[in-house]
């Protein structure tokens, strides 16, 4: 598909949004990158899908996307779920961009709640869909108050919350959306990715952008920026991973989903990242008799 004029797709502007909206989002993105971890308000538009389905991520993607980009969209690690498929189809329709499921091929990866297992490179940008950008909202519901707390870097409340977790449960009971400090200054919600993925954000070579459509906030982590999960010296951060191997590819290091297989308590663990899992299965099939024993 060609977009010489930029108006190639059935009466929609290139990448759906009008140019004024894109410019507004682009200005917000640049300030977000300049102030790592700080939530920049933006005028989120109504999108042709409901809040909660990635309207923030889609608007960020639409503002950065060009005709030569290759787009990957994942939902909980999977390329083939409804949300991922419909967002990929949306951009192929309104921007004519090529979609892919291969992490390594993509220039832009829009994600809901996972970071791919394959390490990202400097040539890639990852766009997170964020339902609730304010990490303090369960502790302080007043946005005017949380803005002040961010202004003063007053994050004692979050430390108290983590401390109370440890006092009650013996460990921090947050398995996803585990709060991080960005660049030693801003407390940030990593979006509801599993805490397992938090270490991948630290000094990632790729640019990380976050869009929250309903809450109308954009924030960012530039490449090679320090991202520390909050913890205590005597209770260091420990990312959780199910104790097992993937039933399909045998990976002992990837993040696993538990899948119920029957109504008699049968279950198995499989990789949450479908592309990573498939590539490992293909590699194992190409080089037989290595580690394929437990493949189903």
């Amino acid at each position: 598909m060609s977009h010489d004029s930029g108006f190639g797709s059935g009466g929609y502007n290139f990448a759906y949004l009008d140019e004024n909206t894109k410019r507004m989002i682009r200005r917000a993105l640049l300030k977000a990158v300049a102030i790592p971890g700080h939530q920049v308000p933006f005028g989120a538009r109504e999108m042709p899908l409901p809040y909660g389905w990635g309207t923030g991520g889609i608007q960020v993607t639409a503002a950065i996307l060009g005709p030569r980009d290759v787009l990957k969209v994942i939902d909980q690690g999977a390329d083939d779920t409804t949300n991922a498929v419909s967002i990929r189809r949306f951009f192929s329709r309104v921007a004519g961009v090529r979609g892919t499921t291969r992490t390594a091929e993509a220039t832009i990866i829009q994600t809901r709640h996972r970071i791919p297992e394959t390490p990202l490179t400097e040539a890639q940008t990852i766009v997170y869909q964020v339902p609730m950008p304010e990490p303090l909202f369960r502790l302080e519901p007043r946005l005017a108050e949380t803005r002040r707390m961010h202004a003063l870097a007053d994050y004692g409340l979050m430390h108290v919350k983590l401390y109370e977790d440890i006092a009650r449960h013996g460990h921090v009971s947050t398995a996803y959306n585990y709060p991080v400090m960005v660049g030693g200054r801003y407390l940030m919600s990593p979006s509801p990715i599993p805490a397992f993925d938090n270490p991948k954000m630290h000094r990632m070579p790729a640019l990380q952008l976050f869009g929250a459509g309903r809450e109308k906030k954009i924030y960012a982590v530039p490449p090679y920026t320090e991202v520390r999960s909050l913890d205590f010296e005597d209770h260091p951060f420990r990312p959780h991973r199910a104790d097992g191997c993937c039933a399909l590819c045998g990976s002992a290091t990837s993040y696993l989903d538990e899948v119920v297989t029957d109504d008699r308590g049968g279950r198995m663990f499989v990789c949450s990242d479908t592309d990573y899992c498939e590539e490992r299965q293909e590699a194992a099939a190409a080089a037989p008799a290595s580690e394929t024993e437990d493949a189903a």
Partner: protein, 189 residues
Amino acid sequence: MMQPGFHDPVLDAQSGFRAVLEAMSRPGRVQALPPGLTPPAPLQPATAAVLLTLADAETPVFSDAGTAAAEWLRFHAGCPLVASPAAATFLCVTGTPPALEEIDLGTDEAPQDGATLVLQVAALREGGALRLSGPGIEREHRLHVEGLPEGFLAARAALAPLYPRGMDVILCAGTRIAALPRTTHVMEG
């Protein structure tokens, strides 16, 4: 007649923005903007492209580039032009920048309101005397800038303690740009 603007306003703005985003994400890395823009003097193509990409009716622009450039910006970007640096979202500076205390640096609660200084210099290339560190930089980026106004780096460094308030700089020369967001620490020599 007025000099033309972007040949393709949609895709030229997109590629221009990606260059600016890349520059801002990796301070000191020099990005090339697509050539083809012929703005009125003294504006160079990169300076003009950055402003056409980002400025519009919502962003007051301060410009020291003279009447022809101001008219060109007003026509193609549709941006209001302001005489006071304090009122500007973007400052288009081809000569000596205004005193940095006069520029809007945002507030602690809304540091994103800090202005962006689009500063035209004589030449830009990677490698060289300036040593940059901070977010977006793995270890150290080196940058060579010709024609930086005297005392500018010292004045910029004096704003660092105000972080997260601050001003972000996009350096432009010919068709090339490099950025110095407020988080970038610059050392000379």
